[in-house]
Symmetry: C2
Subunit: 470 residues, 2 copies
């Protein structure tokens, strides 16, 4: 297929060209050559390519392969596939990869990962395969993974790792450094940004950034340079709350403590960045009625992720139809009302979407609390009124020029002013109400807001038309 | 106003209760008491309260104040206001605060901040005030700030700080630590996660995490534990690219190098987290036609942020009206078409919004590259077809039951199948085209996609109705 490659594994230079032409892109040529190597079953070449890539880039490369090549690549690489690359795969790809890998390969990977990533991987497996693999890993790893899996998904307990550095509060800088230099390499986290100071009962007393250890003399007591941890995360805390705290306090890592204040784990920023990104994406998709999306989503799963909202909207659209049908006589007599219905409903709908997006964002940002709620409602009402007045009477002017009917112009102007106010209010009140009810404001608001605006628009516009034009 | 407070500054305990009742919330009682203290001009109490808060919480507290109290609080606190709290304020609040503060207070703050935050603050000032203040800070600070301000906004050059730790590549762990213990405290960044190794020309050779320094013996050569930096950021790089790289490679910090490969700065994750959050929010708002939103936005600025999109939509809505008006004869004859127009346009519009949200998210994630583009277009086309067939013929069934007209039912079913396919295609092709043209896919797509779907819906539905029902 491709005569520039050489199956001889002893050649040191990989023949596949540089991975990325630009930031964040795999060059199509690179992917094509990798696919070629997979087709030829050229294990040494695959291995050399993967070895030179960052695990995140390996994950990207694998995700860019056609499904058949993806499975074959995973199979060929087997336990040579870096564990970190598997952890970086998207949800569906990770699942496919784990299904392709042998138990032995997965067991070896688990041993290489921090407990948070290891439990993340194992979480995807069916129960008996998980048990089989857990039986083969070391007792310490097993205990850490099992206790992580005991926490609910999307909580701090799942994000945290069991490996962290703690030191008695009475140690000096030098003692802490000497300790880290003597414990076995594997007992320390792969990377860490702070050490935690604890009392004899392992209760958290304070924290010292690692950079603090190297800028102060060895004899400095840790107590002299420790700071109170700005936050202490509880394992049950929702991951969205954790992300908020990391952003609010510019954290690189944070301690996790149990009911008794004892240190049980550490959360690092890299895991939190993924959460921040996921939550923001969820909001974008939810506002448009999509429950899930992914780079390699199948048509079947895309349909499944989108059809529920369309089905709900089908029902609500016919509700709006029913409202319109109440006004058949006036439409029959004044057909131009049919031309203008989309203008009234469309623009009010947009004003509602704007208010909704602003409210959903503010809720996600924790900006709508206490007295801010009333202030925001007041702002939305006034903004809707001002925008309504401007847009409604601009529309009225167009209608006056187009149809030479002052009455029709007054009808559309008044109708739109009213429906804009309704749109602004429902746009902020719906997500606030849903939050109070404990529902996700982004998911459910959109249907409710847009349907109620459509219905209000048709009712008010055609109602006023019936009164003034018949 | 509030007799529980005591103006006597010598009392050590602040009388204002705990700041936050729950994660991410300021208790209304706490805010009310702070407002009271501002009203009384009780400087010592204000100062004691702020001193005990994290700067990010101080910023939150200030933003929650009514505008008048905000200005008075800033004025009363003056140079006792922590510089970090000012840097944490939202854009408009920061501007207001800087206007309230004296030059002397701002100068003092600049001296306390890393160069990235300092230039961030100064960027907001009018040119002559900025020059006046820059004249009073130290020459080193001034040079760092001026070179930061020379870079475009939203680039790596603005995010980076000038303070970082670099060591010659031939040093040992012990030499590096000793160096950090002897240089003046102010020459080191407040916090850092890695040190950079450079050759005599200050070209970046590699990087060692600070945790690597404390886990290896003093005599270890840095070269033995250094890794190649997974990314080298260029100062001109767009901040969105920087955020992508941090996410992709799980970075806590990254070196910034100039054309010649010389180390010029460092970017840390806390600044990048803000960028990630901002970019995701921008996409959410842009998809709904809002250019800007904020917790304390005025009605005037909310109107300004939303009316351009509404004005564009007013024009496009009348375009759709004009399409409908072409079909006045058929509507006049079959008034039920007016009831069903919103169903066709509304549902196709939703299908288009779904495709658009998925595409905008995938573009932001750098998921739509090379061969993935064709795969995504194929998926969207097929998903639209499947969803279209299901929803269109469900709608046709409802119409058949409601109006007992097989022809009308066939007309709406065929029309919706076609408009769903159009919606799916335009939903993915519009953002891809805008990206190719160098425009922001989130901002401009929404208007274009929804207008074209509205027009197509009315044209196809009423056109088919004219053919088959007249």
């Amino acid at each position: 297929m491709n005569d520039t490659r050489d199956p001889d594994a002893s050649r040191a230079e990989p023949e596949i060209p540089e991975a990325s032409e630009s930031v964040g892109g795999m060059s199509p040529a690179f992917i094509a050559q990798f696919v070629g190597a997979v087709g030829d079953g050229d294990k040494p070449l695959l291995w050399r390519t993967v070895k030179d890539l960052h695990p995140a880039d390996t994950a990207d490369l694998l995700e860019h392969l056609p499904p058949e090549a993806f499975r074959k690549a995973i199979h060929l690489l087997g336990k040579d596939l870096p564990a970190e690359a598997v952890a970086e795969l998207s949800d569906t790809a990770r699942l496919d990869a784990l299904n392709e890998l042998t138990d032995a390969a997965v067991t070896a990977m688990i041993g290489h990962l921090d407990s948070d990533d290891a439990s993340f991987l194992l979480n995807d497996l069916e129960e008996d395969r998980r048990a089989r693999i857990l039986n083969k890993v070391s007792a310490t790893d097993r205990a850490a993974i099992e206790s992580a899996l005991a926490f609910d998904e999307e909580t701090a307990g799942r994000l945290m790792q069991r490996a962290f550095v703690a030191a008695p509060v009475f140690w000096s800088v030098g003692q802490a450094i000497d300790h880290m230099r003597t414990v076995p390499e594997d007992d320390l986290p792969e990377i860490f940004f702070e050490i935690f100071l604890v009392d004899p009962a392992f209760r958290l007393q304070g924290t010292v950034p690692v950079s603090g250890l190297v800028r102060h003399p060895r004899e400095t007591p840790l107590q002299a340079i420790m700071k109170e941890a700005p936050v202490q995360v509880r394992p049950e805390m929702d991951q969205e709350e954790v992300a908020y705290l990391f952003r609010q306090y510019n954290l690189a890592s944070a301690p996790v403590v149990d009911d008794a204040g004892r240190l049980t784990g550490m959360i690092t920023i890299d895991d939190v960045v993924d959460v921040i990104q996921e939550e923001a994406e969820e909001d974008i998709l939810a506002l448009s009625g999509v429950s899930e999306a992914g780079v390699n989503q199948s048509v079947f799963s895309a349909v499944r992720a989108r059809i529920p909202w369309l089905a709900i909207n089908l029902a609500t659209a016919f509700l709006a139809s029913a409202i319109v049908s109440l006004f058949a006589p006036v439409i029959d007599q004044v057909v131009v009302l049919a031309f203008l219905m989309p203008v009234v409903a469309g623009l009010s709908g947009n004003a509602g979407s704007q208010a909704l997006a602003v409210a959903v964002r503010a809720i996600a940002e924790r900006d709508l609390q206490g007295s801010m709620v009333l202030r925001a409602i007041r702002r939305e009402a006034l903004t809707a009124l001002v925008n309504g007045l401007i847009i409604a009477w601009a529309a009225a002017l167009v209608v006056l020029i187009w149809f030479h009917s002052p009455t029709l112009s007054l009808v559309i102007g008044s109708a739109m002013t009213l429906t804009f106010c309704w749109a602004g209010l429902v746009g902020i009140l719906a997500p606030l109400t849903l939050r109070r009810l404990g529902a996700d404001p982004a998911v459910a608001s959109s249907v409710f807001v847009l349907t109620s605006i459509d219905m209000a628009s048709f009712f008010v516009f055609l109602g006023l038309a019936t009164i003034f034009l018949m």
